[in-house]
Amino acid sequence: MTRNTLKLALAAMGLVATGAQAQDVTLTIESWRNDDLALWQQEIIPAFEAEHSGIKVIFSPSAPTEYNAALNSKLDAGSAGDIITCRPFDASLALFEAGHLTDLDDMEAMNNFSEVAKSAWQTDDGSATFCVPMASVIHGFIYNADAFAELGIEVPETEAEFFAALDKIKEDGSYIPMAMGTNDQWEAATMGYNNIGPNYWKGEEGRRALIAGEQKLTDAAWVAPYEALAKWGDYLGDGYEAQTYPDSQNLFTLGRAAIYPAGSWEIAGFNAQADFAMGAFKPPVRNAGDTCYISDHTDIGIGMNAATANSEAARTFLAWVGSPEFASIFGNALPGFFPLSNTPVELTDPLAKEFVSWRGECESTIRSTYQILSRGTPNLENETWGASVAAIKGTSSPAELGQKLQDGLASWYAPQQ
């Protein structure tokens, strides 16, 4: 009896509580960044809600591997959240073309971003921009500074110095020279091929020439990175063929490996887990004095579900995400995800500062396979994963790999035919 009364009372209180909040609009964010859940809950959302009473925000991430499939299904059926975190280039373009994302060009906050930053979320002719750029990630190598000091190794600048350093670490034997595995495949392509590659194909110059059909994947500039990767196999740990991405991360942060081919997104996690000093160096150039190129890849944007019932509130939120204030919170809370806003953000993390300083010394580019070239079947990005693994394992020669990729691309991409 008493228990029932209690239940009733609780229910009544619940009703009262919901009644009071009825004017509040709740925005749900779809995202694949489940790693950042705590950060959104504890820092970003409270900062927004403090300024905008009446709008509640829920961050609802799913695992990265399921994100695209789950989001597409929910969008098709009309049950997706109000705010959509955008993958760069074609994945989001397809959502826009299918009418799931709203054109945001008219938003004032869009003026806070450069054309380059916006290019990842624009139609091919640039007439519509459908996501607010959030962050880019930079590739490079993170190293165990204690190990380098112990072995007397200088930070390598050129390819020759890079391999000399690896040889020295291998000879000494107390560290695995480089922590990378080929089991998950994307590591080899993303942290391998697209990390070192821009120095060979000269960044944007080569990437645009490939899209225009002026260069081919069989050209020396595109095969040379595979030749470099072919030498990596010797420096990876025993059984690297079955080493997964978390294995690589753990090998490095436990201090068992000296060099980690990285994306800047690792910084936060590595800071938390490694108990030794770390440093970072940019992808080695071929000869001393060459112009350096880095992969500064526009990676995360955020847009509005065209079917949302709360478009007013959603625009308010997106405008806030486009503001310098958000850039500062986000950039410092997540060192390694570099805000794309025009207003420079003062970063405090030394590793993140190191990465972002390369923007001043080198030419920036994005990953070669992301724009336009992965629209057809066979998918160039997926093929690049396989090719990078094959190069490292030595199961195919770099020339063969170039030929295979070129044949695949030419089979559907008109400018390459």
């Binding site: 695209n68 597409n72 059984g239 080493q243 629209r375 997926n382």
Partner: protein, 304 residues
């Protein structure tokens, strides 16, 4: 039997299952499979007849992947038939031994892997087989067989077999339980009659029990077949949607998922995805028909 009136109880018995099943399963599935006959041209859906199937079977880009996945799937199935089901039968035979002590304990323990999710199974075995953290290598080392160790999941020639064996490990409890129940249901009189004729022990198993549990083995085989050709999760959890290394663990389920829902930069293609699902459906249908009309009808039935 030949009463012409409507027998309402039949309708009552059938209605709930047929309704729920039709509404929530068949309707959505066929709504989706229908897509196999269409294609998307400039944001519009166009009817293309069997064109997608022609692409799937004859365009080298697609057919190579399809036959690779199909071949892998048969290997996956073969390992289950050759390893999982014999082990299951053997365990059940031992467990059904009337004077065995602790039978309940063994039975429960051996069934535990079956109740685990793929996520757990994938993670646990990757940890154990990892060349980095050294559980499998150091255990082999302890018995002096270190040289046998290889990074199995990363090698094209071993990865699929390794995963098939992990799957066997996970599901061996099911044939074990089914056969166990079948063995227990054999009437004691039959066994005693056999014993009077001097048929005991192992020969009793081969000559008396095995023929009687053949229908159960038949059911298990067809369930294994259907399960294996729909399999997806373990490969996906362990090797990802690209089923590496170099597609050596790609089976029809992962191929279909990747195509239908897309992966990384590859956009989902519901039309080709449905075509693959249609092909899977046909393969399984053929297998089930062979079982239903070729095998099952020939097996002797016995009533309880």
């Amino acid at each position: 039997m030949s009463v012409p009136r409507i027998r309402w109880h039949i309708i009552v018995f059938l209605a709930p299952a047929v309704l729920v099943y039709t509404a929530v399963m068949i309707f959505p599935l066929f709504n989706t499979l229908r897509l196999a006959l269409y294609s998307e041209v400039e944001q519009a859906r166009v009817f293309v007849g069997l064109e997608n199937f022609r692409t799937l079977f004859f365009d080298p880009i697609w057919s190579e992947q399809f036959w690779n996945a199909l071949g892998n799937n048969f290997w996956f199935f073969l390992i289950h038939m050759l390893v999982q089901n014999p082990i299951g039968v053997a365990l059940a035979a031992i467990l059904s031994h009337p004077r065995l002590r602790f039978a309940a304990l063994y039975r429960s323990a051996i069934f535990i892997p079956t109740i685990l999710s793929f996520v757990i199974v994938g993670f646990a075995w990757k940890l154990i087989l990892s060349p980095i953290w050294g559980i499998a290598p150091s255990m082999l080392d302890a018995v002096g067989l270190k040289f046998l160790f290889a990074p199995w999941l990363g090698k094209e020639e071993y990865a699929l077999t390794t995963l098939a064996l992990v799957s066997v490990w996970q599901f061996v409890g099911i044939p074990m339980m089914l056969i166990y129940a079948a063995l227990l249901s054999i009437p004691e009189e039959i066994l005693e009659a056999g014993e009077l004729d001097g048929i005991t022990g192992l020969s009793a198993f081969w000559k008396v029990k095995l023929p009687l549990i053949l229908p159960s083995i038949g059911i298990i085989s067809i369930l294994t077949f259907v399960g294996n050709f729909n399999a997806f999760d373990l490969i996906y959890v362990a090797q990802g949607a690209l089923a590496g290394p170099n597609f050596s663990t790609d089976i029809l389920g992962t191929f279909m998922y990747r195509t239908f829902f897309g992966f990384q930069l590859q956009l989902g293609d519901p039309h080709m995805g449905s075509a693959i699902a249609g092909a899977m459906f046909a393969i399984i249908l053929v297998g089930v028909c062979i079982y239903l009309f070729g095998i099952q009808t020939r097996m002797r039935r016995y009533q309880l």
